[in-house]
Point group: C2
Chain length 359, copies 2
């Protein structure tokens, strides 16, 4: 019995080696080659995600990050104590607020959708129209903008001075500074924190060489994403965020999204006719978990957003199966929520009398 | 040399044993006796903190807690997507919002201060005037109240049905239920989560027998807290929250707090003249980290609040040194933030079109 089995299995093995083996190896090697080519292409388009988005001009220190994290979550920087950076960039919603347009001080609705704060420090500029040069510029100007109640910087500084714990935290973050509690330092600290909000996803494992970090469906989606030329814009470590592009290259975006919003994007900043309807190319990291989509939050489902993109940007009618594949790939761009974001900081105690009238 | 030293140290030892030892032992034992008495008194006033606030009528299951935690942090249960339970009970501020009075949907300011949600399920009722019988009652009625935009229950149920992830989570939390996604189940789930928000502080270690869990200053404060009869009201596992008491037993509270608020407390619910100015006795756990104080948030500093209490409730002018001691004790009631509160849940993705008009 055992010898018969042995001889049969020997015959099987010889057959396998002589006939099936080469066929199998050919297929496997062809797949390996295709996979290697795909990854090679991807690596050229998507350079490695940095550990953080600090630069020589914008260095980060643990003390600045610690302070910035506190300020980011502290609603007492707004005039009525209702609004912090995290009101529009909630940890529960991957750094967004799940609204078409954010709501802030005075129940005012912002003109555009709040993108995730994760990875945003990698981008060429901040806001959909690029009106802020970097996250520090955004933080400082937001502080005195309508979202936070048009405060003056001095009143915010005075408020922070009065909250036990903040003056010391500012001093630690900005040693040697004559006036540590300042709007400028607030912006630098919040910016430092935001520059840490960068966490690799499965896609980064794939780029680093682990083929099966992406399923075969996701790899097929990546291939389509490249072949259909989505990567014309959505490239770089942030999978976008590197420049501006007209929304609606081949047809008016408003027809495709059903929006009645007259928003002309970067034109609002530059007033150049060439910039009409131009928007910053959004980074697509975490895109699957941060609906609704586009600058006006006009589209709820990612599949629909991909279809619109194909139509108005590339003049391509993507088939459902193609859309599904691309969406599968986009899902692999969902990273973990940064640990120090999902777990919010404890803030120094201090009551606050809002200026909002009672109703 | 060494023998002289030895004989000297022997003489010292003998002196110590014969003369100093008994004096020392007497002092230590007297201190031990006083400490033991103090702890015994404290244990009679403050029964052990339960692991959670579940009851036979309000059982909790991991599935309900998990769902309730999600709903608690989900702003999509409000009509405009701006407000969740956590808008007034922020993790960063120990389950409060650091405002005198909370701000919710439509920029409306609530008539009273939001107390911490921690330990609240232990209390005899919910809200300052006890208008809600328990946390589930509060959650259900808040959902359709002004804070969340006067929604009808059906519209909220419909919204939750449409968010991928919620129907399954409701089914798991309420197996066998014909209509799992319901306002009633939402309230039961949020209540179940809130019933878990109970974490021991150093004071509980002290009660359990670890004397040096409290410093000698804090123990002195505890002694005063008992001797001055603060414990007439602030007793029980929650250090309060067991009933109602007139705010201003010996003089009008408005004069002491400087408030112009005409709030008559429980009278607003019962319309009985005996209930004018009666409020639920607040639980004092986490009191040191949850300013501002009183039902109207009229007092910012804990020292001032303790002084007001002595004056209007006990007809006692507490000296600063006494106030400091009591405040030292109150600091020992600060517990850790529950881990599943400080770390917020990830919510299922789904964009939301707010009904708030654009500004």
């Amino acid at each position: 019995m055992s010898s018969r089995c042995d001889s049969r299995s020997w015959i099987g093995t010889i057959v396998a080696i002589v006939f099936v083996g080469p066929l199998f190896a050919q297929t496997v090697f062809a797949d390996d080659k295709a996979d290697a080519d795909l990854r090679q292409q991807a690596r050229e388009l998507f350079p490695p995600l940095p550990k953080d988005a600090s630069t020589n001009e914008r260095p980060i220190t643990p003390e600045r990050v610690r302070l910035g994290r506190m300020l980011f979550f502290d609603s007492r920087i707004s005039v009525d104590g209702s609004t912090s950076c995290s009101r529009c960039h909630l940890p529960s919603f991957y750094g967004t607020d799940a609204l078409t347009q954010s709501i802030a001080v005075g129940n005012k609705r912002a003109p555009r959708n709040a993108p995730t704060v994760f990875y945003t420090a990698l981008q060429v500029s901040q806001h959909w129209d690029g009106r802020f040069v970097d996250v520090e510029d955004q933080a400082r100007k937001a502080l005195t903008g309508p979202g936070f109640g048009n405060a003056d910087e001095q009143s915010v500084e005075k408020r922070l001075e009065a909250i036990g714990g903040y003056p010391a935290a500012f001093r630690e973050a900005f040693p040697g500074d004559q006036k540590p509690v300042s709007a400028q330092n607030l912006a630098l600290a919040i910016g430092a924190f935001e520059r840490t909000l960068i966490v690799p996803s499965r896609f980064d494992e794939y780029l680093a060489g682990k083929t099966d970090a992406l399923s075969s469906d996701e790899r097929a989606g990546l291939r389509l994403f490249i072949e259909k030329d989505c990567v014309q814009c959505h490239k770089g470590a942030g999978v976008g965020g590197t420049g501006y592009r007209k929304f609606g290259v081949f047809s008016d975006y408003r027809a495709a999204t059903g929006t009645k919003n007259p928003d002309k994007g970067r034109f609002e900043v530059t007033k150049k006719s060439a910039d009409v309807d131009k928007f910053k190319i959004p980074g697509l990291r975490d895109v699957a978990v941060t609906p609704p989509y586009f600058h006006d939050g006009s589209v709820n489902r990612l599949n629909d957003a991909v279809k619109v993109m194909g139509k108005v940007q590339l003049d391509v009618d993507l088939a459902d199966v193609e859309v599904n594949a691309i969406v599968a790939f986009l899902n692999s761009l969902t990273g973990p929520i940064p640990a120090d974001y999902e777990r919010v900081p404890r803030l120094p105690a201090g009551g606050f009398v809002p200026s909002t009238p009672a109703h």
